[in-house]
């Protein structure tokens, strides 16, 4: 045991080099603005991800409500065609890249290190860098909205090429304004952020597991985080390359997608969907993880068929790379390719079905406690199942020729992404809120919000199946009154308002609970995984003693083997103290400086060939010097970051496991 601990990076001796070059003194504030901006603590970074993601989730929801308001009656002139196109582009982009992905990232940050029994991720400063690059990308994507408020900032409004940015609509010929340049670079940065974060989590999960935590004891959520991270690092390069090509076409006269120069717009679709389809699983695998954590807890029974749930997750990840062209059944792939992708798409339904069977197996013979997280998790199974069925319908390629780009598809993927991903995320937020804020969310208001969301969601999206079968194409700003679409749209819009009310209630209750919720202990749900073994909210160092894992549901095991565990813990604390105490890395300014440098650089890179105008006067002929300045900040910050060294200090615990002093070689 002591040997295992000695091998653990954070408890060994002789790391942390001597003090090196520092431009900025390392910040020590634990609270306040500086504390949050310079933090490298995975829990704080997770909360920042979560906070920003919820903000964008609400913005994306507002965009959706504006879209639904425009469609409430036929021939509506509530908003213009141009604004509508911006709204649906940004609704999609926001919900995928700025809401669901970062909410998943928030839970990766909050949970993965604790579930593997570690004190932080493998590279804490890199983790902060991922966050700030994400913030930069999110800002750049939304910067175009300012044109609607300040017309002299002529960016052409927010991006309006669709979240899929199909070439050649993204060509300078068809969208000459800057909004597309911002979109290209914004998505590029979000991709960079995700790749960096994913590498961090892969290393963390593989290398930093507590002693005894074998891969087949790993909580399902952490497993899904691992699979998702691999999907991200394999899928994102495809779109990164495609985005670079669009950028070059727009600014430097290349012809990757320029039809007049012999470019092939179909190539964009392949590159986009080679990323875009794994992206679907990037969005849904972590939610499958939350549900696999919540169902056993509230069924009071271990997960049924743990290995096969894991293997199906991995299988989904693999097959997910072989089905991208089912988004392109109408592009004229030819018979053989269409057939191959249709069959592969049907195949991916099998591991997905297996997961559902095993979740039902988990409920079977259990003692189901219908608390709010469980209600959302059960809602997830039902709604995700319906979304899966319409997915199978799309796999039948000839039938898909009628459904593709119709409201049927909108119904399908909202069942998967709201009924699926979002329900699971709302379950997860409610489930882990007590852990990270030390307070419970009131059960009654949680249930009210669940039923509002459940009813509102189904009223909004179920009619869309029929709108699609009745021939309503998507991304259309206006429709005629004689098409038979009036009732369905009216119903859907009323549902959307109800859904909006439900979401508002849900988050209003969270805000209330943050201040006034009933205080709770370590383990309010009698749960199974390691995060429930530590205080709520967790201390900076997570674990007083690195846990020794004996079983799959590690914390349930600990609860029934208290004597054995207490002995181990005491020994571990002693061994760790002998190695100098608990090491905590120092905070740093450089991740946020690099991130903001990237924002400044790409903001100017997007406007490269436009003159710099300040107060009506032309200051510079092009934005190139500013772009170079911004990117130089990034290089410099990374350089100084590497000179700065990891730093850190040690925490020493008293016999009860409370921090009694923090010291050691603090800079």
């Amino acid at each position: 045991m002591a040997e295992a601990l000695a091998k653990s990076e954070f408890t060994g001796t002789g790391h942390a080099p001597a003090k090196s070059f520092e431009l900025f003194a390392r910040p020590t504030a634990k609270t306040g603005l500086v504390g949050w901006l310079t933090t490298v603590d995975h829990k704080k970074i997770g909360m920042l991800y979560g906070g920003f993601a919820i903000l964008f989730f609400l913005i994306g929801g507002l965009e959706a409500l504006l879209i639904r308001t425009q469609l409430i009656v036929p021939n509506n002139r509530f908003i213009s065609a141009q604004l509508y196109n911006e709204l649906f582009t940004m609704h999609g982009t926001t919900m995928i890249f700025l809401a669901v992905m970062p909410l998943n990232a928030a839970f990766f940050n909050l949970l993965v290190p604790i579930q593997v029994g570690a004190r932080d991720v493998a590279f804490p400063r890199l983790n902060a860098f991922s966050l700030w690059v994400w913030v930069a990308g999110a800002t750049l994507l939304n910067v175009g909205w300012i044109s609607h408020l300040v017309p002299s900032w002529n960016f052409g409004g927010a991006p309006d090429v669709g979240w899929f940015g199909y070439s050649p609509l993204t060509s300078k010929v068809f969208t000459p304004d800057l909004s597309t340049d911002f979109w290209v670079l914004g998505i590029q940065m979000l991709g960079l952020s995700s790749i960096v974060a994913s590498l961090n989590f892969i290393v963390t999960i593989i290398n930093m597991r507590a002693p005894g935590l074998t891969m087949m004891r790993l909580p399902v959520f952490t497993w899904m985080a691992l699979v998702t991270s691999f999907l991200l690092i394999l899928a994102l390069p495809a779109i990164a390359i495609a985005l670079v090509e669009v950028m070059f076409d727009r600014n430097f006269g290349t012809n990757f997608f320029e039809v007049s120069g012999g470019g092939q717009p179909i190539l964009w679709q392949h590159l986009f969907w080679v990323f875009g389809h794994p992206e679907v699983y990037i969005l849904i695998l972590p939610p499958m993880g939350y549900v696999s954590e919540i169902l056993p807890t509230f069924s009071r029974k271990p997960l049924f068929g743990y290995p096969i749930v894991i293997f199906s997750g991995v299988a989904i990840g693999f097959i997910g790379f072989g089905v991208w062209s089912h988004h392109m059944f109408t592009t004229g792939l030819g018979t053989v390719a269409t057939a191959a992708f249709a069959i592969a798409t049907m195949a991916i339904a099998v591991p997905t079905g297996v997961k559902i069977f095993n979740w039902i197996g988990t409920l079977w013979g259990g003692h189901i406690v219908t608390r709010v997280p469980m209600m959302f998790a059960l809602g997830f199974i039902w709604m995700f199942m319906l979304g899966g069925f319409s997915g199978i319908m799309h796999a039948a390629a000839p039938a898909d020729a009628q459904q593709q780009d119709s409201y049927f598809v909108i119904a399908h993927f909202h069942y998967v992404l709201i009924g699926g991903a979002t329900f699971a995320l709302l379950a997860a937020i409610h489930f882990w809120f007590p852990k990270f804020f030390g307070r419970m969310v009131p059960e009654f208001w949680g249930k009210v919000s669940f039923w509002l969301i459940f009813v509102g969601f189904n009223c909004t999206f179920f009619p869309m199946h029929f709108l699609g079968l009745n021939g309503m194409p998507r991304r259309t700003w206006i429709y005629d009154s004689n098409m038979g679409w009036n009732e369905g749209n009216l119903f859907a819009t009323i549902g959307a308002y109800l859904l909006g009310l439900g979401i508002f209630t849900y988050f209003a209750v969270l805000v209330y609970s943050f201040f006034k919720g009933q205080k709770c202990g370590n383990d309010p749900w009698d749960a199974r995984t390691l995060e429930w073994s530590i205080p709520s909210p967790p201390p900076e160092h997570n674990f007083a003693a690195i846990p020794q894992v004996h079983a799959r549901d590690a914390w349930w095991y600990e609860k029934t083997h208290q004597e054995e565990i207490a002995k181990e813990k005491a020994a571990n604390i002693k061994a760790e103290e002998a190695h100098g105490g608990i090491h905590i890395p120092d905070q740093s300014w450089y991740p946020i400086i690099a991130g903001m440098g990237l924002l400044f650089g790409t903001y100017n890179l997007a406007q490269l060939k436009h003159p710099v105008v300040m107060f009506g006067n032309q200051v510079l002929g092009s934005h190139a010097p500013l772009a170079i300045a911004g990117l130089s900040i990034v290089v410099l910050a990374c350089y100084l970051w590497s000179l700065e060294g990891p730093g850190g200090y040690h925490i020493h615990l008293d016999a009860d496991g409370n921090a009694k002093e923090s010291g050691g070689y603090h800079h």
Binding site: F357, G361, A401
Partner: protein, 438 residues
């Protein structure tokens, strides 16, 4: 305790009855689903009017049957588990947890996987045959198929009749061209070659065939056959920029004899109305603009009368109006030239050789204008010419294109100023002229 249990049983029984009732309605409804939910709009994929759309709908119904079966089985088990294994007391909620994790039952897992695969095979087989059937005209019918080329423009459709070659004024020949309304013979397979002049569009007439995209640098095609004469609504189904929502078109299927007649008329150069052919004492144009002042007077779409029977309306518009004002028409023809409409539009036999906008040689015989957005009545055509930007934001007629100026032209300050200015009288004349082009 027993009371709650019987309540649960009631819930369960109700759920089973509901599911059974729904599936019964579904199976007895068969292909009548659209009647149950009244989903027979002009673009309904459920009310099929040709073999391609029918095969696609039939396949869709196979997927509905299979998934409904799965839903009933899995849903019933899930619902049963949720009700049966619900914690019924406080002690139940804190029941001891089993010691070791379940590995699942390998026979159950393998059985379920095998069952799922078998059900998917039921879908896969008709899917594969459907892929080949919908791809191209069946071998046996290929001989009598007609070939047309549809070209997508931001935001309208051009149709070329590849086999109907027309002599060009300066020598050579070109295919017969029409815009936004594709007229075909019923009962004859039609192969539509799909091209685009700019971005990606998608060609979709739901009642006849599923969509296929118009991809740049890619020779796609789609085929369909209309079972009987009819008037079919279609729409671009790939987001193609600002006015994507208003890129619509029509397919009009005629009996073989009617089609031949229509084709013969289309091949004629533009119709010229002279004083002799017009009623001598024709009254001044009897055009009502009352609806213009109403908000809903500018809504998209056809009038109720038109929507009720569009094919009859289409036939009616083939005939010249009872009274035509030759001098007004002549004034309109002159304006069409003077106001530079001819730079973008062609009226074969009259003026213009523009290819940026739709060919207007027989615009008077089309049932819609502005790419299917408005019924082709004098009022609606007047509205369209008066304010195209209102109906189709971003259109080239208003904004100009590639150095050609539209209603607006750029000024020196980076803004725009009016270029083509038309008053109501001038628009009346243009409408009269365009409507004379039967």
């Amino acid at each position: 305790m027993t009371r709650t249990r019987s309540a649960h049983r009631k819930v369960l029984r109700f759920a089973i009855a509901l599911i059974a009732g729904f599936s019964l309605a579904l199976s007895s409804g068969c292909n009548k689903l659209h009647q149950v939910f009244s989903l027979s709009g002009p673009q309904s994929t459920m009310v099929t009017e040709g073999p391609v759309a029918k095969s696609q709908w039939d396949l869709f119904m196979v997927t509905v049957y299979v998934t409904t079966f799965i839903f009933i089985v899995v849903g019933a088990v899930l619902a049963y588990a949720q009700i049966k294994f619900r914690a019924k007391s406080d002690a139940d909620e804190h029941a001891a947890v089993p010691a070791e994790a379940g590995h699942g039952n390998p026979f159950v897992e393998i059985g379920l996987i095998a069952g799922s695969v078998a059900l998917l095979v039921i879908i896969a087989i008709p899917t594969l045959s459907g892929i080949w059937y919908t791809h191209d005209v069946p071998e046996a019918e290929r001989g009598n198929a007609i070939d047309v080329t549809a070209t997508g423009y931001q935001w309208w459709f051009k149709f070329d009749y590849n086999a109907e070659m027309m002599p060009l004024p300066g020598g050579g020949e070109a295919a017969l061209v029409t815009g936004n309304e594709l007229v075909v013979p019923a009962g004859t397979p039609v192969r539509v070659h799909l091209r685009t002049i700019d971005v990606i569009h998608s060609f979709w007439i739901p009642k006849l065939a599923g969509k296929v995209d118009m991809m740049p640098n890619r020779p796609n095609f789609v085929w369909f056959k209309a079972d009987k004469p009819g008037y079919y609504y279609g729409q671009c189904a790939e987001y193609c920029g600002e006015s994507h929502a208003i890129m619509r078109f029509r397919v009009i299927a005629l009996s073989a004899a009617d089609y031949v007649k229509w084709l013969a008329n289309q091949k004629q150069p533009a119709r010229t109305v002279t004083v002799q052919t017009a009623a001598a004492d024709a009254a001044l144009p009897h055009v009502q603009f009352a609806s213009l002042t109403l908000n809903d007077g500018r809504a998209f779409g056809g009038s109720p009368g038109f929507d009720a029977d569009p094919l009859t309306a289409w036939r009616k518009i083939q005939q010249p109006a009872a009274s035509e004002n030759a001098s007004l028409i002549a004034a309109g023809r002159k304006l069409f030239k003077d106001k530079t409409c001819v730079s973008c539009h062609t009226i074969r036999g009259h003026d213009g050789a523009g290819i940026v906008g739709p060919d207007l040689t027989h615009i008077g015989a089309r049932s819609s204008v502005a790419a299917g957005a408005l019924e082709n009545t004098p009022e609606r055509l007047h509205q369209w010419i008066k304010d195209p930007e209102y109906f189709k934001p971003g259109n080239k007629m208003f904004h100009g294109f590639g150095g050609m100026q539209g209603y607006m032209k750029p000024d020196d300050k980076g803004g725009t100023v009016p270029n083509i200015v038309l008053n109501d009288q001038e628009i009346d004349a243009l409408v009269a002229y365009l409507h004379s082009l039967k």
